[in-house]
Amino acid sequence: MTTTLHKPAELQQTVPPAGVTRPKRLGQRAVGFFMALPPILLIAIFVGFPIVLAFGFSIGLTGGLNHTIATIGQNVHEADAWWGTLAAYQEMFTNKRFLGDLLVTVIVTLVSTATVIFLALGIGLYLKLKGGRMARLLSGLAIVPLFIPVVIASWAILTFYSGTGFLRSVFALFGVDFPVWAFTMVTVIIGSVWTSLPFAVLMVSSGLQSVPNAMIEAARDAGAGSLRTIVSVIVPMAAVPIIIATTFTAIGIVGSFTVPYFTGPNSPNMLGVDMSNYFSAFNQPQQSAVMAFTVFLIASGIAALYVWANFRSAKEQGKA
C-alpha cells in the first residue's frame, strides 16, 4: 500500500533492517507478503466482513447474508431508502436506558483507566528510582491478576465486597456498617482496575526501565528535584509505552463484558452487558448492533491515539 515503510524500532537498534544488507528482491517481497497473508485473511473474513455486514444491518439493509438474523430478530427497522434508514439509531439514541448505559460506560472507562495508569506509573517509578525488595514485591503483586481468569476474578471481587464480604465483616467487627459495594458501579470500577493492572504495569515499567540512568543522574546533577526529574525527564522519555498501556487499558474496559456482567447492577450497566442482553435475552439484534457501533466509535478514537503513538516513535527512532 505504501512505499515509505518504517522499519521496526527493535530492528533498527539491533540489526540492519531488511533490504539494506541485501538487495531487495521481488521474490523475497512476494514470499513475505504471502506468509503474512493467512492471519490477515482470517481477520478480513471474520472481523472486517462481519463489521461491514453488521453495519448494513444496523442501517436496515436486511437482505443477503443479513436475511437470517433479520428474520430471527424482533423489532427490526427495515430500510426505506436505497441507502438504508437511521431508525434503529434514532430509537436507541432516544432510549433512556441506552443513554444511561453509554454515560456509565464512559465514566467507568475514564475513572478505571486513570486509576490503572496512575498505579502503574507509581509502581513503575518506584521500581525504577528506588528498587529493592519492596518495589519487586509491589510489581509482583500487580502482575498476579494476569494469572487469574477474568471470570473467576470478577466473581471473587463480587464476594469480597458483597453484603457478607470481607470488607463488611472487618468493619462489622468494629461496629461500623460498611456500604455494600457488590452490584454497584464501584465494584465494576474495582474489577476493571484489578483485571487491567498487570498489562499496564508490565508495559509502563518496561518503558520506564529503558530510560537511561545516565539521563536521570544528569538531571539530578543539574539540580532537578525528584518530582521535576520524573515529570520532565523520565515520563516524557517513556511516553510511547505509557500511551500504549493507556489505549489498551481503555479499549479493554470500554468493551468489557465479564466484569460488569458479574459485579454490576442490572441497570444502568456498561454497554457490553446491555449489548448481550439486547442480543440474547431481548432478541433485538439490530439494537445490539447499534450499541456495538457506538462502542466501536469510542474505541476507534482511542485506537487512533495508539496508532499515532506508534508512528511517532517509529519516526523518532528513524531520525536517531
Binding site: T2, L5, H6, K7, P8, V15, A18, R29, V31, F33, M35, P38, P39, I40, L42, A44, F46, V47, G48, P50, I51, L53, I72, Y126, K130, L138, V144, L146, F147, I148, P149, V151, I152, W155, A156, I157, F160, T164, F166, R168, S169, V170, W194, L202, S206, E217, R220, G225, V240, I244, I251, G255, F257, T258, M275, S276, F279, M291, S300, N310
Partner: protein, 283 residues
C-alpha cells in the same frame, strides 16, 4: 528531599524518611488486600461449611463441595470442552500466525504496515461488539453452536498474541548470527531451525501460553456462539454462579485457575522479562 545515589546507600533516620516508609508500607498493605484479598476470600470458601457473618473464618471446614464438583456431569463436560478447545486453538493459531510473524520481522513487503494495523484492529474493536457482529455471519453460514464456530472465535482472540510477540522475538535475533551460519555452509532451513528458532523460542512460548489462556478463559464469545450446546469452563461459571451454592463455584474457580497459574508460573520469567511488552510495540 531528593533521593540521590549517596542517600540511598546510607540514609539518616529522619522524621521525613520514617513518614515516607510508613506511607509506602500502607500502600503495600492496601495493594495486598486489593489484589490478594478477593482470591483468598474465594479460596477459603471452597473448604467452608457454615459461615456466620461477620466472622472472618468459616464455622466449620469440609471437602464436601469438591465431591459435588467431581460428581457433577455437566461440570465434567465443561472441563473436557475447555481442554479440547484450548490446545486446538493454540495449534491452529500457530499454523496461521507464526509464518506471518516471521515475515513481519524479516521481510519488507508491500502492505506490511497496513497489515500490522489491521491486526491491531481485532484488538481495537471491543470483543462483545465483534461477537455481536460476527453472530449475523454465523447465522448465515450455520456456524452457530458448532465446533468450528467456537474455534473461529477462540483463534480470533489469539491472533494478536501469536503474531506480534513472535514477530518481536524473530526481529530480535541478530541477523549477523544467521549470516555467519549461512557463510559456514548451513542451508536456509538449517539456519532457521538451529539459529533463528531457538533464539526466538521464548517469545513463541509466551505467545503460546497467552493464546492457550486466551482460549481457556474466553467466555463472552463462546457463550454467545456456543451456549448451550457447548459449555466450556468459563461459560459454565456463568450458570454456576446463579444455580449452585457459592462454595461449588469457589471449588470450580480453583480448578479453572490451576492451568492458568501453572502456565504463567512456567513462563513468568519471559513474560516479566519483557517479551510481552516488546510484542505490543509494533512499528
Amino acid at each position: 528531599m531528593a533521593i540521590t545515589a549517596a542517600s540511598r546507600t546510607r540514609r539518616p533516620l529522619t522524621l521525613d524518611s520514617i513518614v515516607r516508609s510508613a506511607l509506602v508500607g500502607l500502600f503495600v498493605v492496601l495493594m495486598v488486600v486489593f489484589i490478594l484479598g478477593p482470591l483468598l476470600w474465594l479460596g477459603v470458601r471452597a473448604f467452608a461449611g457454615n459461615w456466620t457473618f461477620p466472622n472472618l473464618l468459616p464455622d466449620d471446614w469440609t471437602l464436601r463441595w469438591w465431591q459435588v464438583v467431581v460428581n457433577d456431569g455437566a461440570l465434567g463436560i465443561a472441563v473436557q470442552n475447555s481442554l479440547f478447545f484450548a490446545p486446538l486453538t493454540v495449534l491452529v493459531s500457530a499454523i496461521i500466525c507464526l509464518p506471518a510473524a516471521y515475515a513481519f520481522a524479516r521481510f519488507d513487503f508491500p502492505g506490511r504496515r497496513f497489515f500490522l494495523i489491521s491486526l491491531f484492529a481485532t484488538n481495537a474493536f471491543p470483543k462483545m461488539g465483534l461477537f455481536v457482529t460476527l453472530a449475523a455471519l454465523f447465522y448465515a453460514l450455520n456456524l452457530m453452536n458448532t465446533v468450528l464456530g467456537i474455534l473461529v472465535v477462540h483463534v480470533l482472540g489469539t491472533v494478536v498474541f501469536m503474531t506480534w510477540i513472535p514477530a518481536a522475538a524473530f526481529a530480535a535475533v541478530p541477523r549477523n548470527l544467521e549470516e555467519a551460519a549461512r557463510d559456514a555452509g548451513a542451508s536456509k532451513l538449517r539456519v532457521f531451525a538451529s539459529v533463528t528458532l531457538p533464539m526466538a523460542l521464548p517469545g513463541i512460548i509466551v505467545a503460546a501460553v497467552m493464546s492457550f489462556l486466551a482460549s481457556f478463559d474466553e467466555a463472552q464469545g463462546t457463550y454467545l456462539v456456543g451456549a448451550p450446546a457447548f459449555m466450556t469452563m468459563p461459560t459454565q461459571m456463568y450458570s454456576l454462579v446463579l444455580n449452585y451454592p457459592t462454595q461449588v463455584a469457589a471449588v470450580f474457580s480453583i480448578l479453572l485457575a490451576i492451568p492458568s497459574v501453572a502456565l504463567m508460573l512456567a513462563a513468568h520469567k519471559h513474560i516479566l522479562g519483557g517479551q510481552l511488552a516488546e510484542g505490543f510495540q509494533i512499528k
